[in-house]
């Protein structure tokens, strides 16, 4: 979290990593709710970023996301994380239907020298709020997922990162052929800049399959 010094606008590397990993947790929950990967009744309402956010009550999903956030925070502090991708796939066929891509640009000077940056917390929260609103409104243009779906998370890291024992290196990046892409807003803590993009399977192909 941001250093709670007298001047609240100072952002350290650890604080920025915590903000980004927390954002990813809430974004993942929001995506799972909005895309109906899990039923509505398995989510509970909380207040975050000035918005009513939905968090899963399913213990398995909760622990998965919390473990994931802890690892992402560690990689962010080391400056080794390039991208995080949340993949939504069909349970029956295993086909990838959507890819929520969160690409991260790290200020290497902060990682190497340990300096801090200044940015208003309110500004960061406002930027994150805009992204959350866009995720919620994405159901207007994303195709309906009529079949049962599951999700998975991929992390694009530097090649010198040691693979934790709960993770494994995957040769399959779970890509979508000829996807439609929609670029969402981004937010910047001055140390980490997160760009959001959603790519989804072409609607016509889904209609053909139907």
């Amino acid at each position: 979290m941001a250093s709670k010094t007298a001047a609240k606008d100072i952002i350290t590397l650890r604080g920025s990593a915590a903000i980004v990993s927390e954002f990813f947790g809430y974004a993942a929950n929001s995506i799972l709710y909005n895309r109906a990967v899990y039923p509505e009744e398995s989510f509970a309402r909380v207040k975050k970023y000035g918005l009513p956010m939905l968090l899963t009550k399913d213990e398995g999903v909760k622990s998965f996301i919390s473990n994931l956030n802890a690892q992402l925070s560690e990689w962010l502090e080391a400056g080794k994380l390039q991208r995080v991708v949340l993949v939504i796939m069909s349970m029956n066929t295993g086909e990838v239907l959507e890819r929520w891509n969160f690409s991260i640009e790290t200020d290497n000077e902060v990682v190497e020298k340990g300096v801090s940056r200044e940015k208003s917390d309110k500004e960061i929260m406002r930027e994150i709020q805009a992204i959350m609103r866009q995720i919620a409104s994405s159901i207007t243009y994303l195709p309906c997922l009529d079949e049962q779906c599951v999700f998975d998370v991929l992390a694009y890291t530097d090649t010198d990162v040691a693979v934790p024992f709960t993770w494994m290196e995957s040769s399959d990046a779970k890509l979508i052929a000829n996807p439609q892409m929609v670029k969402l807003h981004s937010f910047d803590t001055k140390i980490h800049k997160v760009n959001t993009l959603v790519s989804y399977k072409n609607d016509e192909e889904l209609d053909d399959e139907e």
Partner: protein, 723 residues
């Protein structure tokens, strides 16, 4: 052309200082020459006349007067000289004043000429300006017309593009719909066709077979029936006969038995009785065989009755088939309709270019879709390019306007300079003309002065020459100004040329920059598409995936749920069937057996899944207990986790930690964990002074719970060991 200097006036004979020849003093020649000067010599003439009147007195006085006269003459001569000098001075002054007047007149005329020239120039400039304004207006109008035409063209093209897009989208939708319909219909048609064909063939075969069979059977049965009826009648008769005979035989048998019993007591004629017995036995056997035959006939009769029943069944079957024959006709009509539809679809397929059979349709549609996608992409690119071109066009128009204004300003400058140069040239020519005229005038004056004689002309000449000399630097200055203006003009023209060249080079730069920006935009688009696609370089990046057991557990749960729902449905079906079974007889048994088999199967599946779940639970419980014990031994705290709900409904996980070195059971730490954040909860133990101090230092200030727990563990350990 307006002359800057007036026409030279004729030199008046007395224009220069009137030359008065004063008689030489003391000369013998005493003739008084009266020189009449009409203008300046006027007052001087009167005095000599008065003197002459005095001179005309008597002889006597002549001598006296002569002396007086001579004195007066000398005085007069002196006066004359004075007057002459004065006259000369006055003449000089007059000449000067004349010259000044002339100069002023010249200046005035020059100024008037300049004014007229300026007015003329102004008029010319005004006309030129009007021309230029009109030209620029016309150009502006033309450009406005061009731009309006271009805008109209642009709007037309945009409309056409929109129309094309809408038609493409509509065509695409139609194609999709048609494709889907076609696929469905073709599939359904094929299926139905196959089914109908099969059914038809089967029905035909069955019907034919049944009909022939039935007819044959019917004939057979009829024949058999007839023959059996005949046989039955015969057999009945025989049976009656045999029955009568049997009854007779029985009667005889009873009599014979009586006889035999009676004969058994008599020994006479055993041979006859044996023969009788044998005969009777033979007859009995014959009768028994006849009875067997009668039984056979009876069974045949029963079989005939069965055959009759079968015949009736076959008849009913035949009737049913005959009833189904119109349905067959209906099916044939349907098949004909479907065949017509199929032919119509085939004709439609033939109309579609590039498609020869049904299998080519999806390929063609996919190719068309790809083409549509490519065209849409191209359209998007063209739109982007068009917008860029519009932006560039606006920019170039602005630049063009700027350069035009600059060029106009430069032109105006050049024109002004040219006008100034012309003016200077005119000035120079006028000045040179003046100089020439002055020279001519001087020469005339010289010639006139040579005729009149005297020194006075030399001074005037000298004055003229001095005035000329004075004018020469002025002329040189003017020439210098003219050259300077020419230089400035040439410099301005060079600047204009350089500006034009700069404009052209800037336009070329703009075009190259546009091309560069298009290329960069396309590159950015490609890169963004690659980024969105998820491509990465294996040299710099590796993809890691967290082990995800959610789907597996979900699978098991979902299969259990599905099986349970299926079990409920089968149970309901079973109940319904049992009810139906109570109403009907035989069919219920079959359904019952099937359903019971299915239910047993499902129950087995549920049992295996429940067992698996139990195993998972036990394994998990084992693992978690091992983990808890390990945590307790490694970190020195027993951790108890439980879920609670806050008053606002948000679920929260609470962890209760108790150190293994705790002195009593009240020494417990409580933490709440919610979405990645862990907060300490105040209780009786943490509100004590020692612990609260440590909480303030480690948790609140340093924000480190592990440091707090480690410190507490060490303190508790020290306390325990010391105690």
């Amino acid at each position: 052309m307006i002359l800057r200097t007036p026409a030279p006036k004729r030199a008046r004979p007395i224009e220069p200082a009137p030359i008065i020849e004063s008689p030489p003093v003391g000369s013998d020649h005493r003739q008084l020459a009266i020189y009449e000067d009409p203008s300046s010599a006027g007052p001087a003439r009167r005095e000599p006349s008065q003197q002459s009147e005095h001179m005309l007195c008597t002889y006597q006085c002549r001598q006296m007067v002569k002396a007086d006269f001579l004195d007066a003459l000398s005085n007069a001569e002196k006066q004359v000289q004075d007057y002459q000098s004065k006259l000369a001075e006055l003449n000089d002054n007059f000449g000067k004043a004349d010259e000044e007047r002339k100069t002023f007149r010249e200046k005035l005329s020059y100024v008037e000429q300049e004014l007229a020239a300026a007015k003329g120039r102004e008029q010319a400039l005004h006309d030129q300006l009007l021309k230029e304004v009109n030209d620029s207006h016309e150009r502006l109008k033309k450009e406005l017309e061009l731009s309006s035409k271009l805008q109209a063209k642009l709007e037309n093209e945009q409309n056409l593009r929109k129309k094309a897009e809408s038609t493409a989208a509509a065509a695409e939708d139609k194609a999709k719909e048609l494709e889907a319909k076609l696929g469905h219909i073709s599939k359904s048609i094929e299926k139905e066709k196959k089914r109908f064909n099969n059914e038809l063939a089967q029905l035909n075969r069955d019907s034919k077979f049944s009909i022939t069979k039935i007819t044959v059977d019917l004939e057979k049965m009829e024949f058999r029936a007839k023959s059996s009826e005949q046989e039955v009648e015969l057999l009945r008769k025989q049976q009656e006969d045999l029955q009568s005979k049997f009854s007779e035989c029985l009667h005889q048998k009873s009599e014979l038995e009586k006889r035999l019993t009676s004969l058994s007591f008599e020994d006479d004629s055993p041979k006859e009785s044996d023969v009788l017995v044998k005969h009777l036995q033979e007859e009995l056997r014959n009768y028994e065989s006849e009875v067997r035959e009668a039984r056979k006939l009876k069974s045949a009769h029963d079989s005939i009755e069965l055959m009759k029943e079968k015949l009736l069944e076959e008849k009913s079957r035949r009737e049913r088939v005959e009833l189904q024959l119109p349905k067959l006709q209906e099916y044939e009509l349907k098949i004909n309709k479907l065949e017509d539809e199929l032919s119509a679809w085939k004709l439609m397929i033939q109309d579609i270019p590039g498609v020869s059979c049904c299998d080519d349709v999806p390929l063609r549609i996919s190719a068309l879709q790809k083409e549509v996608i490519d065209n849409l992409k191209k359209l998007g690119e063209v739109n982007a390019h068009l917008k860029q071109m519009q932006v560039v066009l606006d920019k170039t128009q602005l630049d063009k306007q700027k350069t035009e204004t600059e060029a106009a300003l430069a032109k105006e400058k050049a024109d002004r300079l040219e006008a100034e140069v012309k003016r200077m040239n005119l000035m120079l020519s006028a000045v040179s003309e003046e100089r020439n005229m002055l020279k001519i005038a001087i020469e005339d004056f010289k010639s006139k002065n040579e005729q009149a004689g005297g020194h006075a002309s030399s001074s005037a000449m000298q004055e003229l020459e001095s005035s000329l000399l004075k004018r020469e630097p002025y002329i040189k200055e003017l020439e210098g100004d003219l050259f300077a203006q020419k230089d400035i003009n040439t410099r301005q023209q060079d600047e204009i040329k350089s500006l034009h060249d700069r404009l052209n080079s800037e336009a070329r730069k703009v075009k190259s920059l546009e091309r560069e920006s298009d290329r960069l935009r396309s590159e950015i688009f490609l890169l963004e598409s690659k980024l969105g696609h998820g491509d990465f370089s294996a040299a710099n990046t590796k993809v890691l995936r967290m082990v995800n057991t959610l789907a597996v557990g979900n699978d098991a749960k979902q299969t259990i749920e599905a099986l349970q729902s299926e079990l409920q449905r089968t149970k309901e079906k079973l109940q319904a069937l049992e009810e139906y079974k109570s109403q009907s007889g035989n069919s219920g048994k079959l359904v019952d057996s099937y359903m019971s088999g299915k239910v047993a199967q499902l129950k087995e599946q549920i049992a295996t899944l429940e067992k698996r779940e139990e195993r998972y639970k036990t394994v998990f419980a084992d693992r978690i207990s091992v983990f808890r014990r390990a945590c307790c031994e490694l970190f020195g705290y027993k951790i108890v986790m439980d879920e609670r709900q806050r008053p606002n409904g948000i679920p929260v996980t609470r962890f209760t930690l108790q150190s293994i070195y705790a002195m009593n059971d009240d020494e417990k730490l409580e933490f709440e964990y919610e979405s990645g954040n862990t907060n300490i909860v105040e209780n009786g133990y943490t509100s004590t002074s020692e612990i609260s101090q440590q909480v303030d230092i480690f948790v609140r200030k340093m924000n480190s719970i592990p440091a707090f727990t480690a410190n507490l563990t060490v303190e508790s350990f020290n306390r325990r060991t010391l105690s």
